[in-house]
C-alpha cells in the first residue's frame, strides 16, 4: 500500500495570538494555511487588552 500523497497545507483552529503566530510561521515556511476562527475576526482575547505586562506596552 502506498501512502497517500501529502498535502502542503496546514489547518490552524483558533485565531488568537497563538493561532496567528503558528499560521505566520507556517505560511512563512512554505505551507498554505487555513486559519479557522469561530468569531467574525481574528485577534482573540489579546485584542481586548489595554496594556500588557511587564512593559505596559499598548496591547493593540
Amino acid at each position: 500500500m502506498t501512502a497517500p500523497e501529502k498535502s502542503g497545507s496546514v489547518m490552524v483552529v483558533g485565531g488568537g495570538i497563538a493561532g496567528m503566530q503558528s499560521a505566520l510561521d507556517l505560511a512563512e515556511s512554505g505551507y498554505y494555511v487555513y486559519l479557522v476562527e469561530k468569531s467574525a475576526a481574528i485577534g482573540g482575547i489579546m485584542s481586548q487588552l489595554d496594556k500588557t505586562f511587564p512593559t505596559n506596552d499598548c496591547a493593540m
Binding site: S9, Q21, A40, P54
Partner: protein
C-alpha cells in the same frame, strides 16, 4: 502591538482566514487529513466591504458589545473592533425572527418595529410594502399568526404586531401623498389578473413592480373582492381600502370593473389582446346550503350574499329577531352587521363548542360585547315556516361531536335532544364556495370540491399560461394568505415569461430560534382604544382607533429582537459598495490538510455563579478584570476614563481579589492556577493609578503573588515599592454591598488573624482562564484526550503534541499561560505541524509573478491622481470633483480620476488599466492612511511593471474629512493642499530596488543541552542542516543532573534517546569541546569561527541563522551553611540523593525557598524552584510517609497545572510555612541535626525545627556567556540571560535578524517549556531557511562619502550600531543588510551627508514648499 501582526496575517498570501467557522471533523491520517469545516454566513461580502461603517450608522438594532464585555453597545451589523482583521463588517443573526418566519407574507416584522422604535416611519412603511401591499388593510383584519408565535408571549403578552403596521398606514394617511413603490424598469409584456381580491391585487402589485403591464378584470362594480364585499365597514373603512388599491393603480395597473370572465372576456380574447399570461383569483363569493327542509323559504338568507348586498348598498330586509347559523368569522360579521342594521335580538347558533368555534377569539369577544347571543353545540334540523311560507324559526338538534376520531369534520347528533329557536330572519353562514361560471368552459380544470386546480408550488393551472390562487384555489383563508399566494403567482408568471424554471428553489424552509427570556422584565401590552360598545349600534363607524405615535413607540420598545438583525435592510440601502447580502447561507467545506494545530484558546471564568459572594452582576461596581481592562482602554466604553459604573465617579479606592475561578476546587472546580492574574492585576493597578486624577488606593488581595516570568519580579517590586500598589495577603471572608452608595466593604482577616472591615469604591475580580464548553466539544469531536480540567493533554517531552498524531496544540487550550508562553508554544506547534508535511513544502503555497519593470529613467513625470470618495466618508464632506479637477491643474499631472472606493478590487484593475493607457510613471492616491493601504496600492503598481516606490498617498480621510466634518469648505481646501504636496513629492521619487541576498541554508546552534538538541532535531525534520556546538565534551547540559519531572517522566531516559537521535542524524554535525572564537556577517550569511579542544586551527562555519541555547545552571548557595555542612544541599542534589539512596533516615526535612532568587543580587524569581521543592517533598512522602517536611516559602509559585501537586503535597501533610524577605529563617548546626528557626505569621512567634536535612531551593543562574556575547554582539540582561527581540510577541527572536534564542539561555524554565521554546526557535529559523533569498528593505541610509567629515555622530546615534568607521578606507560605512531604515543617522548628521532612500531631504522639503506655495 498585536495590530501589525493582525495586518500581516490578513495580508499574507498563504493564509486563508475562515471566519465564523468551526472545525467539525477530521478524517484521514497525518500528511493527509480531510477536515469538515462549517462556516456561518457573514452576510457581508469580504471582497466588497470597505469597512466605511455607513451600515452601522443606520442599523436600528443595538446589542451588548462583546468586545467591551457588554459595557457598551454595538449594532447588529458591526466590526468586532476598529483594527479587526478581516476588516469587513458582519451581521449577527439568530435565524429569522419567529414573527417573520410565521407571517405567510414573511414581512420583516422585527424590522419595521425596530424602525418605528427609532421614529423612522417612512422607512418602516417602505420595508413593510416590500413584502406586503396592504399595511392598513391587514393592520385591521389580519388574523396575525405572528402574534401567536411572538416570543413576548412567553414572557407576558405578545407584541401588538398588527396594530403597529396599522399605525404605519394611519401615519401614511397624515402625509401629503401615500408611498408608491418605484417601478424600476418598464417591460412590454402584458399580464391579465382576473379578480381584484387580495390575491389578484397582490399579484398585480408585484408584477407591476417588476415592470409588467398589468390589467385587473373585476366582475363587481369596485375592486377589492372580499375585502370590500365580505368584510364589514366598521372593521375595514373603505377609505383605507381605496388608498391601498389606489397605490397599485398609481404603479400603472389598470383595473376594469363590471366585467365577467366567460361573458365579457375569455382566455381567447385575452390572448388576442396581447396578454402573455393570466392570473385567476376569483375568490369564494358563493355560499353553502344546509340542505334541510324549507331552506328556500322567504326570510332565509345566505351570509356572503347578505354582506355583499350590504356593501353594495342594496336594500336588504331583515326582521327584529335574527338567527345566524354558523360559527366562523363570516357568521360573526353577519351577526354584527345585522345588529348594526337594526336587529334587536341576534342569536348565533353553531355546531361547535365555544372553544371549537372557527371564528377568531377576538371576533367572538367583540360579538359578545355587542350582545350577540351565542349558542353552541346545535345543528339545524328543519326550518319552521308560518302560514305565508315565511321562515319563523329553526329546530335544532344537539350536536354531540363535530369531528370524528381522525379529526375530520363529521358531526354526530343526538336526534332526541332538540330545541327550537324562533326568529323572523335566518342567515345561513356555514361556508363559502367558488362561483365557477366561465372557468370550466375555458378549459381550466377544477377539483372535485369545486376549486380551481393548480400546482401547489408554482400555481400553474392546466392551461400553461394561466396561474391561479387565493380562496378559489385553496379554500377560505385570511387576507395575508392571499397576499402570500399573490406574491408567489407574480414570481411564477415572471419566471414563465422569462423562460425560467418555475419550481427551482421555491420551497424555502423558514426556521427560527427563540432567545432565552428567563431574565426578561415584564412589560404589559399597550391596549388599543376602541369605540364603546354602545356607540357601535346602528352605525358602521370603525371600532378600533389604533395607536397614536406615543403608543406605537411604547409598544415597539417591547420587541425582544429575536432574530438579532431585524432584516430592515437599511444597511443594504446605505452600503454604496453593494457588499451586503442577506441571502448568504451557511456553507460546509471539505478541506485537505496535512496537519492541524488547535489553538482555540480560553474562556474567561464567569463569576456570575458566585454572585451571592462577590455581588458580581448585582452591584455594577464589581467587575471582572477583563471588563476593567476595557474601562482602562482608550478605545473602551469610557474612552479610558476611569469611572465606576454606578455613578460615573472616579473611584478613590479599588480592591483586586485574586484567584477568582482559580485555585478553587470547592466552589468552581478549577484547582489550577491561571498563571496570568497576578501579573495583570499588578498591571491594571498601576495603570489605574496612572489614569486617576487624584491619588488612587489600589489594593491587591492575594494568597501568593506569582510573578514567576522573566523580569516579572522586577515589575512586582516596582508596583509595590515605587508605584505604591498595596498588596494584602488575605483571603476575603465576605463582601457587603451598600445599596445606597454602591460602595463595597471587604471583611478579611489580616496576617495576624484580626478581622478587618475596609470599604472600597470598586472591586475587580481577577478572573481565571478555563477550558470552554466549545473547546471541550471540539476535542471530543476530534477524539483528542483532555486532562481533568478539559485542557488538551500533552506530555512533558512533547509539549505541543496531542494524543492524536498529526494534531498539535498551543496556547491556553493546552493549559493556562501568558502571551509570551502562548507565542512560544505557537512557534513550537508550527514546525511540529510542518514536519508532517515537510516533503510537500511549497506545493500548495501561492506566489505572485510580477512583470518586468518599466524603465522610467530620464522620462518626465507623468503623474496620475486617484481621488477617493470612500463611500461618503470623504465624499460626504470634501468636494471630491473639485479636488479632482484641481489635481488636474498641478504640474506633471496627466490623468485624474475619482472613485467610490479606491481600495476596491475593481478600482485596482482600473488603476492598472490607466497606468498602461496613459503611460503613468507616478501614482498618487488621495484617500486614507498609508499605514493600512499603501502596501496594497504599491502591489497594484508592481503588477503592471511600475516600480512600487513611485507611489505617494495623501490622507484626505483620517487627517481631513474625519476631523473637519463640520467644515466642508475648509476640508476641501485642505484636501487640495494635501494632494498638491503629494503630487510634488511624487515627482521627486525614483525607483528603488530591494537588495536580494542568498540565504545559506545551514544553522549554527550554540549549546548541546535539551534546548539546542531539540532545535537541531527540529531543523533536521524540516530538512535543514545544522552545526551544534557544545563547550563540554558530552551533550546534555544541565539535564544530565536531573532525574524525573514532577509528572514522573524519566529525564535520563529521554536524554539518552535525544542524544542518540542527534548523533545519528546526518543533518546535524556535533562539535563538542567547542567554543566560538570569531564571528561576522549578517542575516542569511554568517561566518563563525569555532575553536575545538585539541585542534590547533579554528574551524570556519558559514551559516544562515544562529540559535542560541547556551543554557543555565543551579545557583551555588553561599548561605544557610551550604558547603559547610553536608546535611545542607540543593534541591537538585536532594533529588540525586533520593534517586540513589531513597528517603531512608529522612524523618524531618526542611526546605527553604528563594535561595539565590528574589534578592538584591538576583532580583528575579527562578520559576522552577517551588515545583522542585514540591516534587522532592512528594517523593520523600511517597517513600517515607511518616516523614515530616517543612517548606519555608515566601510565595508558593506552582503556576498553571503545577498547582495540583502543591495541593497534593498539603494533603500529604507537607507543612508550608511562610516567611518574609526581611525575616529569613536562621540555620544552625546542632549536634546530631540542624536547627532551623523561622517566624510563623499566624502564631506571631519564632518556631524552631530540628531537621535531618536542609534542602535549599537554589535559583537558576545563566551560564557564563560573556565571551560569546562579546564576540557575537548579543545583548544580555544584568543577570546574564540573553535578551529577546520583544518580550511579548517575539520571545524567541533576538534583536539581530537571523538570530534566535531558546531554553535557559533566555531565562529559567521547565524542561517542557524549554522544549517548546527550542521548537519555536527552530520554527522561526525555518521561516528564514526555507527561503532561497532574502529581500532587504530598500529604505536604507546611504552615506555621501565626499561630504562626510567622519565626525562619528551617526556611529554614536544609531540604535542598532550599524554605521562603522572603516579604518582602512577612512570612510563611514552603513551596511544596507543591517540598516533598519529608522532615519536617526540622517537626522543627526550635521553635514546632511546621509540620505535615507524614499525619504531623501528634497523628497520631504518639496512637500513643505508645495504647501507654502499655496500661501497660508
Amino acid at each position: 502591538m498585536i495590530s501589525p501582526k493582525l495586518v500581516e496575517v490578513g495580508r499574507h498570501l498563504n493564509i486563508e482566514i475562515l471566519t465564523n467557522s468551526e472545525l467539525l471533523s477530521l478524517d484521514g491520517e497525518p500528511g493527509r487529513f480531510t477536515a469538515q469545516v462549517h462556516q456561518d454566513p457573514r452576510f457581508v461580502d469580504l471582497a466588497k466591504c470597505t469597512s466605511c461603517g455607513e451600515c452601522a450608522k443606520v442599523c436600528p438594532i443595538a446589542l451588548p458589545n462583546e468586545y467591551d464585555e457588554g459595557l457598551s453597545e454595538r449594532k447588529a451589523i458591526y466590526k468586532q473592533y476598529a483594527q479587526a482583521i478581516p476588516g469587513a463588517f458582519g451581521i449577527s443573526k439568530r435565524g429569522t425572527a419567529p414573527c417573520k418566519a410565521t407571517c405567510p407574507a414573511h414581512v420583516s416584522i422585527q424590522g419595521y418595529i425596530a424602525l418605528i422604535d427609532e421614529g423612522k416611519y417612512a422607512e418602516a412603511l417602505q420595508l413593510f410594502k416590500e413584502s406586503h401591499p396592504f399595511p392598513g388593510i391587514c393592520g385591521r383584519v389580519c388574523h396575525h399568526p405572528c402574534e401567536q408565535i411572538c416570543t413576548r408571549n412567553d414572557v407576558d403578552q405578545p407584541l401588538a404586531i398588527r396594530e403597529l403596521h396599522r399605525y404605519l398606514a394611519d401615519w401614511e394617511q397624515t402625509q401629503e401623498s401615500p408611498y408608491v413603490p418605484e417601478v424600476k424598469e418598464k417591460r412590454d409584456e402584458k399580464v391579465a389578473v382576473i379578480g381584484s381580491g387580495p390575491a389578484g391585487l397582490t399579484a398585480a402589485y408585484y408584477l407591476a413592480l417588476a415592470g409588467y403591464q398589468v390589467t385587473i378584470f373585476e366582475k363587481l362594480p369596485k375592486a377589492g373582492g372580499m375585502m370590500r364585499y365580505g368584510i364589514p365597514e366598521y372593521r375595514l373603512p373603505r377609505s383605507i381600502l381605496d388608498t391601498e388599491i389606489g397605490v397599485i393603480e398609481q404603479m400603472g395597473v389598470t383595473i376594469k370593473t363590471g366585467v365577467a370572465f366567460g361573458q365579457d372576456f375569455t382566455l381567447d380574447s385575452l390572448k388576442k389582446d396581447g396578454f402573455a399570461s393570466v392570473f385567476v383569483g376569483i375568490g369564494l363569493h358563493g355560499g353553502r346550503k344546509l340542505g334541510v327542509e324549507n331552506e328556500d323559504a322567504e326570510g332565509v338568507l345566505q351570509g356572503v350574499d347578505f354582506l355583499r348586498d350590504m356593501a353594495l348598498g342594496k336594500e336588504v330586509e331583515i326582521g327584529e329577531d335574527v338567527l345566524v347559523v354558523g360559527g366562523g368569522n363570516v357568521a360573526i360579521d353577519v351577526a354584527l352587521t345585522a345588529k348594526r342594521k337594526g336587529a334587536k335580538n341576534v342569536t348565533l347558533i353553531c355546531l361547535e363548542k365555544r372553544e371549537e368555534m372557527p371564528a377568531w377569539e377576538h371576533e367572538i369577544e367583540e360579538a359578545l360585547e355587542s350582545e350577540i347571543n351565542i349558542v353552541n353545540s346545535f345543528g339545524p334540523k328543519n326550518f319552521f315556516i308560518d302560514k305565508s311560507s315565511k321562515v319563523s324559526g329553526i329546530e335544532f338538534k344537539t350536536c354531540t361531536a363535530v369531528f370524528d376520531e381522525n379529526g375530520r369534520f363529521s358531526p354526530s347528533y343526538d336526534e332526541d335532544a332538540c330545541q327550537p329557536f324562533f326568529g323572523d330572519t335566518v342567515i345561513v353562514s356555514i361556508g363559502q364556495s367558488t362561483v365557477l361560471d366561465g372557468i370550466r368552459e375555458q378549459g381550466i380544470e377544477t377539483t372535485p370540491p369545486g376549486g380551481i386546480k393548480a400546482d401547489p408550488v408554482t400555481l400553474q393551472t392546466s392551461v400553461e399560461w394561466v396561474f391561479a390562487g387565493g380562496d378559489a384555489f385553496y379554500g377560505p383563508k385570511s387576507v395575508v394568505d392571499a397576499v402570500s399566494c399573490g406574491k408567489e403567482a407574480a414570481e411564477s408568471i415572471h419566471r414563465y415569461l422569462n423562460g425560467l424554471d418555475l419550481a427551482e428553489g421555491r420551497e424555502k424552509q423558514w426556521e427560527f430560534e427563540k432567545p432565552d427570556t428567563s431574565m426578561e422584565a415584564h412589560k404589559p401590552r399597550t391596549p388599543v382604544r376602541c369605540l364603546d360598545p354602545e356607540a357601535r349600534e346602528c352605525n358602521f363607524l370603525e371600532v378600533s382607533f389604533g395607536f397614536n405615535e406615543e403608543e406605537a413607540k411604547k409598544e415597539a420598545d417591547r420587541c425582544l429582537r429575536c432574530g438579532i438583525c431585524s432584516e430592515c435592510y437599511q444597511c443594504v440601502k446605505a452600503c454604496l459598495a453593494e457588499a451586503i447580502d442577506h441571502t448568504q447561507q451557511p456553507e460546509d467545506k471539505e478541506i485537505t490538510v496535512g496537519s492541524v494545530i488547535l489553538s482555540a484558546g480560553t474562556e474567561i471564568y464567569d463569576p456570575g455563579e458566585l454572585s451571592q459572594f462577590y455581588h458580581y452582576g448585582k452591584n455594577p461596581n464589581v467587575m471582572t478584570s477583563l471588563e476593567f481592562e476595557r474601562i482602562l482602554s482608550a478605545s473602551g466604553p469610557t474612552m479610558g476614563h476611569l469611572v465606576r459604573p454606578s455613578d460615573e465617579k472616579e473611584p478613590k479606592k479599588i480592591a483586586w481579589l485574586q484567584c477568582v475561578g482559580s485555585r478553587d476546587t470547592n466552589r468552581c472546580g478549577n484547582g489550577y492556577c491561571s498563571s496570568v492574574c497576578c501579573m495583570y492585576a499588578i498591571k491594571d493597578a498601576m495603570i489605574a493609578k496612572e489614569h486617576s486624577k487624584e491619588e488612587l488606593d489600589a489594593a491587591i488581595f492575594y494568597m501568593d503573588i506569582r510573578t514567576f516570568g522573566k523580569d516579572y519580579e522586577k515589575y512586582y517590586d516596582r508596583a509595590r515599592n515605587k508605584e505604591g500598589v498595596r498588596f494584602v495577603k488575605a483571603r476575603v471572608h465576605s463582601i457587603y454591598d451598600d445599596p445606597k452608595t454602591r460602595d463595597l466593604t471587604l471583611r478579611f482577616a489580616d496576617e495576624s488573624g484580626n478581622m478587618v472591615d475596609e470599604p472600597f469604591d470598586m472591586v475587580v475580580l481577577s478572573v481565571g482562564l478555563q477550558a470552554g464548553e466549545g473547546t471541550k466539544a471540539l476535542a471530543e469531536r476530534l477524539g483528542i484526550e483532555m486532562n481533568h480540567y478539559n485542557f488538551l493533554k500533552t506530555g512533558p517531552f512533547a509539549p505541543v503534541a496531542t494524543s492524536r498524531p498529526g494534531v498539535y496544540t498551543c496556547g491556553i487550550l493546552q493549559g493556562p499561560k501568558d502571551i509570551p508562553a502562548s507565542v512560544t508554544e505557537a512557534g513550537a506547534a508550527a514546525p511540529a505541524a510542518g514536519a508532517d508535511v515537510a516533503e510537500a513544502r511549497g506545493k500548495d503555497a501561492k506566489t505572485i509573478e510580477f512583470p518586468e519593470e518599466i524603465d522610467v529613467a530620464g522620462i518626465e513625470p507623468r503623474i496620475g491622481v486617484f481621488v477617493c470618495n470612500c463611500g461618503i466618508n470623504i465624499g460626504g464632506v470634501v468636494n471630491v470633483p473639485e479636488v479632482q479637477e484641481y489635481a488636474g491643474t498641478l504640474p506633471g499631472v496627466v490623468f485624474t480620476d475619482s472613485n467610490l472606493f479606491t481600495c476596491s478590487q475593481d478600482t485596482q484593475d482600473k488603476i492598472k488599466e490607466k497606468i498602461q493607457e496613459e503611460n503613468l510613471n507616478r501614482v498618487v492616491v488621495a484617500s486614507c492612511s498609508p499605514k493600512t493601504h499603501a502596501p496594497m496600492f504599491m502591489e497594484t503598481l508592481e503588477a503592471c511593471g511600475l516600480n512600487k516606490y513611485l507611489f505617494e498617498m495623501a490622507n484626505i480621510r483620517n487627517q481631513d474629512s474625519w476631523v473637519h466634518a463640520n467644515n466642508p469648505d475648509l476640508a476641501t481646501k485642505k484636501a487640495k493642499e494635501l494632494v498638491r504636496m503629494a503630487v510634488a513629492r511624487s515627482a521627486t521619487l525614483h525607483p528603488l530596488h530591494e537588495r536580494v541576498i542568498p540565504v545559506n541554508k545551514r544553522a549554527l546552534v550554540l549549546g548541546g543541552g535539551i534546548a539546542g538538541m531539540n532545535a537541531a532535531l527540529d531543523l533536521s525534520k524540516q530538512g535543514f542542516e545544522s552545526v551544534l556546538i557544545e563547550k563540554e565534551d558530552k551533550l546534555g547540559g544541565m539535564a544530565r543532573r536531573l532525574h524525573h519531572t514532577i509528572e514522573g517522566a524519566d529525564v535520563q531516559g529521554y536524554l539518552e534517546k535525544l542524544v542518540g537521535q542527534v548523533e545519528k542524524d546526518d543533518k546535524i554535525e556535533v562539535l563538542s569541546g567547542a567554543q566560538v572564537a570569531g564571528f561576522e556577517g549578517f542575516q542569511g550569511n554568517f561566518l563563525t569561527e569555532v575553536k575545538i579542544d585539541g585542534q590547533q586551527e579554528p574551524r570556519s562555519i558559514d551559516h544562515g541563522v544562529i540559535l542560541v541555547a547556551t543554557g543555565g545552571a543551579e545557583y551555588r548557595p553561599k548561605e544557610f551553611l551550604y558547603g559547610e555542612d553536608d546535611r545542607v544541599m540543593t534541591q537538585v542534589e536532594l533529588s540525586d540523593r533520593l534517586e540513589k539512596s531513597g528517603a531512608d533516615g529522612l524523618d524531618t526535612v526542611v526546605m527553604i525557598q528563594c535561595v539565590g532568587s528574589r534578592n538584591e543580587e538576583n532580583p528575579n524569581c527562578s520559576r522552577i524552584c517551588c515545583q522542585a521543592a514540591v516534587k522532592n517533598a512528594l517523593a520523600i512522602k511517597k517513600q517515607n510517609p511518616a516523614s515530616q517536611i517543612f517548606v519555608l516559602y515566601r510565595d508558593m509559585r506552582t503556576y498553571g497545572l503545577l498547582e495540583d501537586y502543591y495541593t497534593d503535597a498539603r494533603k500529604q501533610g507537607v507543612i508550608f510555612v511562610r516567611f518574609d524577605k526581611e525575616h529569613p529563617p536562621q540555620v544552625a548546626a546542632d549536634g546530631d541535626g540542624l536547627k532551623v528557626t523561622v517566624k510563623d505569621h499566624v502564631l506571631q512567634q519564632d518556631i524552631e525545627i530540628g531537621t535531618d536535612l536542609l534542602a535549599l531551593s537554589a535559583g537558576v543562574t545563566a551560564t557564563d556567556t560573556k565571551a560569546v556575547s562579546d564576540i557575537m554582539k548579543l545583548n544580555r540582561n544584568p543577570e546574564g540571560f540573553f535578551i529577546e527581540a520583544h518580550v511579548k510577541l517575539r520571545p524567541v527572536d533576538m534583536p539581530g535578524e537571523g538570530m534566535f534564542l531558546c531554553g535557559m539561555a533566555h531565562g529559567p524554565k521547565l524542561i517542557s517549556e524549554t522544549i517548546a521554546q527550542s521548537q519555536a526557535a527552530a520554527s522561526r529559523a525555518v521561516t528564514f531557511l526555507s527561503k532561497d533569498t532574502i529581500q532587504l528593505s530598500a529604505i536604507t541610509a546611504k552615506v555621501d562619502v565626499d561630504h562626510c567629515v567622519k565626525c562619528l555622530t551617526c556611529v554614536r546615534s544609531c540604535p542598532f550600531g550599524v554605521p562603522k568607521f572603516n579604518v582602512e578606507k577612512g570612510e563611514i560605512e552603513i551596511d544596507d543588510a543591517l540598516c533598519h531604515g529608522c532615519g536617526v543617522c540622517t537626522a543627526v548628521c550635521p553635514r546632511q551627508a546621509i540620505q535615507l532612500s524614499f525619504y531623501e531631504d528634497d523628497q520631504i522639503t518639496c512637500k513643505i514648499d508645495a504647501l507654502l506655495a499655496g500661501g497660508i
